[in-house]
Amino acid sequence: MNITVKIKRFDPEKDDAARWESYSVEADKMDRALDVLMDIKWHHDGSLTFRKSCAHGVCGSDAMKINGENKLACSVLLQDLVKEGGTLTFEPLPAASVIKDLVVDQSGFFEKYRAVMPWLINDSPAPEKERYQSAEDHEIIEEATKCILCGACTHSCPSTWADPDYLGPAALLKAYRYVFDTRDEESEERLKIVDSPNGLWKCYTIFNCVQACPKEIDITRWLSALKRKAVTTRF
């Protein structure tokens, strides 16, 4: 199929502001959106810049705005995005500072991640064997452990757009994953961090994050559970 690909580009060494560039591309409907970007880079314009690695939705490198929605470029096929003769648009993730073309600075995103103490805390003497956890208790956190930290959710959230200091769904989901891990002993400390002005209460259950998540995690549901936990722990 022949399609027009519009890419929002920005070269920090040449441009004062972002600009749109269009390419006419021959592609297959079963191609991934990432295949189109690679084709342009390799055969039309070597300066086009984007991140990529696994190319099948597990590493989280290529989250970007495609046809107006945050997605992983490697996890969506052209047949689900554009028709013959149609236009496909690529932009960097919104509410992030752009380094070059589709590459954004994720240092702020990972600062928020680090802020929730994203690691298991258990200072009790370790048993000789594993710490037991029932299959049911594991199930409570299992979906949250699917998160690949691509950033599609946090950058789709209107609260993030309005307030760059909001922890955002990805960091809060990580907090949920540890607060509800039966092996963790530090949930109170973590709850204090998320039960704060830039924390949980800026989630207004808009569900953009759920829609953006390439791993289909029901983020708002788990954040609601975290809110209940925060409230019941507080009072």
Partner: protein
């Protein structure tokens, strides 16, 4: 500028993070330098499980695991190293669990285990549940947990720095690396007492691969350039079940949960080749069997794939134990594995060979195992201990990463404690790197990396994949010679300093050309079939002449030397390999 740390680890996948964590636990000052953000590393794509004889689901023993690994390696693995890995496995997995890895659980709340290819009870009697798993994203949860723990331990991360040179003193002591900061285009020196390569595999030299785009084998090339040999590079694992045309991995855990391979006649063909373990035969055999079925006209619709049938396994198992591969199948091929079989074909997956090391990650530079390179360590896929020999068993790669990453981290920390004097840097350690980058950037006439890379991937796939013979290997070597000439004129269109991924494509193809020859040359010399190295013109294993490791020494444009080294055999004498 120059950064100084006790330990510099290159690569932030499972092996690099494990080494970093265990060295940091000992109080060492550790830096991890990676061309990707650590969480983008390819360990995150490992699906089905990590092997350890925990015996949580049924009786198991480390010795059975060791036997299976030796047999799986077609007797080329070093048995002392294999024993070490299988003995270390249970405690290492338990430590991972204590660090927080969210493994799937049994009804009693223990780490759940499943069947995998080549893993048996009682020395080959029947399949055993040995693979510890977290649904079908075991690597993902291990990678994330290790990164979290490293952040907690305040390991210093240099994300998106491409390492371009390995620094050695004139006396042959390793004392640092040179890296290119992708964000700014600046070149930096990292001065260290110990350098550890955990740079992963080289799947991207083949056209069809399950490996990430980043899997360009950078560490192999840097080692070769520094005069370090590469061991057993001819042994390339093709995973039997990659999604047709795309090569995306469909875990062996799918067959562990009951999946069956079928040819165009609907026949469960593995019954003919491996009557005892059937679809759970080791990967080398299954990939060769699939190719044989295709060659004999039993590919589906006359095409180069077979079916992985999961339809009888049930929705419940697919949704709970194999959700990722179900999604891949639906997203990329529009096939729901609950209803329809998945089209699959072998895909380049894993490098059995690599930088030779001992069990503590110290790099060994000759056939003499005590001849180590001071200050230089390697672990993970880029290293060759050798525990996988001619064919790696499924679940043993994650195990290799964590066991030898851990041992290497502890060994480096101990070395620092004993003597923390860094060997002095040479006068201008960045010169070679700057010259290379400047010459690429200044070149206006030439060829883009993509066309050289595409031709490399084509010749490797056509001539050096599952089946090889003298003619195909000679053709590949001649192609590689030509490509080595072409790569000298590699050029870039992006002339900017900041985030120049065009330039990174160019340095990666330069890397690839420095070790691809090791794969083809080792394969051409080895006139036998063993494990994943299957020669049409020498179809039997030949222990008399070839029960030995290949050592490849690259000499740039002046060709290469090949030497051999003995295999360590402890308990298990080579026998015919039947499943």
């Amino acid at each position: 500028m120059t950064f100084s740390h006790d330990i510099v680890i290159v690569g932030a996948g499972g092996a690099g993070l494990m080494a970093a964590l265990y060295a940091a636990e000992e109080g060492a000052d550790v830096a991890v330098v990676s061309k990707l953000h650590p969480l983008r590393s390819h360990t995150g794509a490992a699906q089905g499980g990590i092997g350890a004889a925990l015996g949580n689901e049924e009786e198991d023993s480390w010795l059975w695991h060791a036997f299976d690994t030796v047999k799986g390696s077609d007797y080329l693995g070093d048995q002392d190293a294999i024993e070490q890995m299988c003995k270390d496995a249970p405690r290492t997995i338990i430590e991972l669990e204590h660090y927080g890895v969210p493994f799937s659980r049994t009804n009693e709340g223990k780490i759940a285990q499943r069947r995998f290819g080549g893993h048996t009870r009682n020395f080959g009697e029947a399949p055993v549940r040995r693979a510890c798993y977290a649904a079908d994203r075991t690597g993902h949860v291990i990678l994330h947990t290790l990164y979290e723990q490293c952040v907690k331990k305040q390991v210093r991360f240099y994300d998106e720095y491409q390492v371009l040179d390995l620094l050695m003193t004139e006396g042959g002591t390793c004392n640092g690396v040179v890296a290119y900061e992708i964000l700014t285009g600046d070149v930096h020196t990292f001065h260290a007492k110990a350098v550890c390569f955990a740079t992963g595999g080289y799947g991207r030299v083949f056209k069809t691969t399950s490996n990430a785009h980043a899997g360009t084998g950078d560490g192999f090339a840097l080692a070769v350039r520094a005069g370090v040999p590469l061991q057993d590079m001819e042994f390339v694992q093709f995973h039997p079940t990659g999604l047709y045309r795309l090569g995306i991995l469909i875990t062996e855990g799918a067959r562990g949960e009951g999946g069956i391979l079928r040819n165009s006649e609907g026949e469960r063909f593995m019954e003919r080749y491996a009557p005892t373990v059937k679809d759970l035969a080791p990967r080398d055999m299954v990939s060769q069997c699939i190719y044989t079925e295709i060659r004999e006209g039993r590919g589906i619709n006359g095409k180069e794939y077979v079916h992985l049938d999961m339809t009888h396994v049930g929705k419940e198992v697919l949704e709970h134990k194999l959700p990722e591969i179900s999604t891949f199948s639906r997203v990329y091929l529009g096939i729901d594995p609950v209803e329809q079989p998945i089209p699959v074909a072998p895909t380049c997956h894993y490098a059995m060979g690599g930088i030779p090391t001992n069990v503590d990650g110290q790099v060994v530079r000759s056939g003499d195992r005590s001849d180590i390179v001071p200050g230089f360590y390697a672990c993970g896929e880029c290293a060759c201990v050798s525990v996988h020999g001619a064919n790696r068993l499924g679940t043993n790669s994650l195990l290799d990463l964590v066991v030898f990453g851990r041992r290497t981290g502890m060994a480096m920390a101990a070395a620092i404690k004993a003597d923390n004097k860094k060997a002095a840097l040479s006068e201008n350690p960045e010169k070679r790197t700057r010259d290379t980058l400047e010459s690429i950037m200044a070149r206006s006439d030439g060829e883009k990396a993509v066309s050289i890379r595409t031709d490399l991937q084509e010749t490797m796939m056509k001539n050096v994949s599952v089946y090889r013979n003298d003619d195909t290997l000679a053709e590949s070597l001649s192609d590689l010679k030509d490509l080595r000439r072409r790569v000298k004129s590699v050029t870039v269109e992006d002339k900017g300093r900041k985030f120049n991924t065009d330039l990174m494509d160019a340095v990666e193809i330069l890397f690839m050309m420095d070790y691809a020859e090791a794969i083809a040359a080792g394969a051409k010399n080895r006139t036998e079939s063993r494990g994943a190295h299957s020669r049409e013109d020498f179809s039997s294993r030949d222990d008399e002449n070839w029960l030995k490791h290949t050592l490849f020494f690259g000499k740039g444009d002046d060709g290469y030397d090949i030497e051999y080294k003995d295999v360590t055999i402890t308990r298990f004498q080579p026998k015919e390999r039947k499943y």
